[in-house]
């Protein structure tokens, strides 16, 4: 049991290595000269040397990589080229803002996705099922940022119910979270439906039926419990990939999160910000994937022994 959880943690180590290398390369391969970016055009040679020395830019790449990892573990992500402030001062408030609406989106995704999938599975190939499945197809095919823009037009401009963006009130969370939840909820609905239909074909369902268990309790007690494994896995993976989706949503809704910081960092050629953003989102995704794996092991003992 314990060895399963430990094994998963060990599996994570090479991934963590790849993430840190990728984040390191973002800064290392950046064509801009960090000394010039920090000191400005008119700095004296002494100031430039001091900065070069402090950043360790004259040392070999692998030493710089080591320094980068050590600093990052201690929460030091360097200095932003634009604001000349520590990157950490920008990145942590942004990360909190991203987590707030991702958490709301996650709850909405589950509330929308699972019932929609169950509803479809109770009456497969009915008109109800076709409606749900067509919505799922549309949800998966529409560009997520475009859906957000359509929502802004309808709910903010036409109906005037909700703000267009920013993070100035709790109502502002609703539209970005809903946009995110609908797209990822579509996948949850699809998996819920498929795994319910799959489980319903099994022998033990037929046994329960022949014992005279009512259709309703066969469905909700016997089938749903066994169908829940792939559903839980999907939700875990979707939450992880949602963090990627936030990058697009944050631009649409002018949300002060990591995604927007990251994109602006690239456009403004602020490599330390980009580096920290990539590292932070990737690590968060990694942790979520690990938690999903663990949860899977808790729910299904067979997984632990394989």
């Amino acid at each position: 049991m314990l060895s399963y959880f430990l094994r998963r943690v060990i599996d994570v180590i090479p991934v963590l290595f790849v993430i840190t290398v990728l984040a390191f390369l973002v800064f290392y391969l950046d064509p801009a000269d960090p000394v010039l970016m920090i000191a400005g055009e008119n700095a004296s040679q002494r100031v430039e040397d001091a900065i070069r020395d402090r950043l360790g830019l004259d040392r070999p790449a692998w030493v710089q990589y080591g320094t980068f990892v050590t600093n990052a573990i201690q929460g030091d992500f360097g200095t932003s080229y634009r604001s000349r402030q520590p990157v950490a001062d920008h990145i942590w408030p942004a990360f909190r803002a991203t987590l707030v609406f991702t958490a709301v989106a996650m709850v909405l995704m589950v509330i929308i996705g699972i019932p929609a999938g169950i509803l479809s599975a109770t009456r497969p190939y009915s008109w109800l099922d076709s409606i749900v499945m067509s919505s799922v197809l549309l949800g998966l095919s529409a560009p997520i940022f475009w859906v957000g823009i359509v929502f802004i037009y309808v709910f903010a401009f036409k109906l005037g119910w909700l703000p267009t963006g920013g993070f100035y009130s709790w109502q502002a969370v609703i539209l970005p979270a809903l946009t995110l939840a609908l797209q990822y909820g579509a996948i949850v609905a699809r998996i819920t439906r498929a795994s319910m239909l799959d489980v319903m074909d099994h022998d033990y369902i037929r046994t329960a039926r022949s014992k005279g268990v009512s259709a309703r309790s066969v469905f909700y007690l016997h089938a749903l419990k066994n169908a829940s494994l792939p559903i839980v896995t999907t939700i875990g993976l979707q939450v992880a990939s949602m963090l990627g989706g936030t990058i697009l949503i944050e631009k649409v809704f002018a949300w002060p999160g990591v995604g927007r910081l990251l994109v602006n960092g690239i456009l403004e050629r602020d490599a330390p910000i980009v580096q920290a953003g990539v590292l932070l989102i990737a690590t968060a995704v990694l942790i979520l994937n690990l938690l999903t794996d663990w949860l899977y092991g808790v729910l299904d003992p067979r997984v632990r022994w394989s």
Binding site: P14, V15, V18, L22, A23, L25, V26, L29, D30, Y125, L137, L138, L140, S141, A142, P143, I144, F145, W146, I149, V150, I152, Y153, F157, A240, S241, M242, L243, G244, G245, I247, L248, K251, V252, L262, V263, G265, I266, L267, A271, V274, V278, I281, A282, V285, L286, N289
Partner: protein, 263 residues
């Protein structure tokens, strides 16, 4: 599936023919028409530089198709070779390749694309390459699984007994078995790549102006959303139509190739 196929063929024809069928030059605007509302002459109106939106949307299909095909090509060739090699040789080569694929697959595609683009710099070529990289693991996984199941067959052993080289066996005896599923995956991947390109251009990290891209049109349109919603909505509908068509066509193909799944 038929509907999907028709939309798909229309999209490809329009994309290829776009330089000759746009009513006006999609790059040259007439400032007197700046932000013109939709009318009989300009069914989708004109953008902030007075460029006809019908022409812009038609021209945007070309970029979508180009990025889509090149990205899928990158994914197919790189992922295909890795998958064939991993499945055929097995052992440490297999473990190593598939571990790397798992790592790539564990990440949100957009984050990966952004990391690659920020290292290489935003441009059309880099966008195609970055999106292609995100497609590699799926191809590697698919081809590997088919190869592993095909390798056991008698005809592969017969070919080996006849003295055929590894390369020959892989290419002439094993690879053809992967064709059906590869086509299905490519259809779905093409949709993903087109969505990815739109997203990247929306962020300003993909195709650079003045080249018309649907994602960029949606981004520019957002600035005029209150008064000119069609500037964002029309290109978005174009993306959605193409991706829905690809998904429907892919589902249909996969059912046709796998009759036991049909219900």
């Amino acid at each position: 599936m038929t509907g999907g196929f028709i939309v798909l063929v229309a999209f490809i024809v329009i994309a290829i023919a776009s330089p000759w069928i746009t009513p006006t030059d999609p790059l040259r605007g007439d400032l007197r028409l700046r932000l013109a509302q939709p009318s009989v002459e300009l069914p989708f109106g004109a953008d902030h530089q007075g460029r006809d939106m019908v022409s812009r949307v038609i021209a945007g299909s070309r970029v979508a198709l180009l990025v889509g095909f090149v990205a899928v090509g990158v994914g197919l060739i790189a992922g295909g070779i890795l998958g064939l090699v991993a499945g055929y040789y097995g052992g440490i080569v297999d473990t190593l390749i598939m571990r790397v694929m798992d790592i790539i697959l564990a990440f949100p595609w957009l984050l990966l694309v952004i990391a690659v683009v920020s290292i290489l710099g935003p441009s059309l070529t880099n966008a195609m390459l970055a999106i292609g990289i995100t497609l590699v693991p799926q191809y590697a996984r698919l081809l590997r699984s088919v190869v592993v199941s095909t390798r056991q067959h008698d005809f592969v052993q017969a070919a080996t007994a006849l003295g055929a080289s590894h390369g020959r066996i892989l290419w002439f005896h094993v690879a053809p078995h992967t064709l059906g599923q590869t086509i299905v995956l490519s259809t779905v991947s093409l949709g993903k790549a087109i969505l990815a390109e739109a997203g990247l251009s929306f962020l300003g990290l993909g195709v650079q102006p003045p080249t018309p891209s649907w994602g960029m049109m949606i981004a520019v349109g957002q600035d005029y959303l209150r008064t000119h919603p069609h500037l964002s909505i029309v290109p978005g509908v174009a993306v959605m139509l193409v991706v829905v068509a690809l998904n429907l066509f892919g589902d249909g193909l996969s059912d046709a190739l796998n009759p036991t799944r049909r219900k």
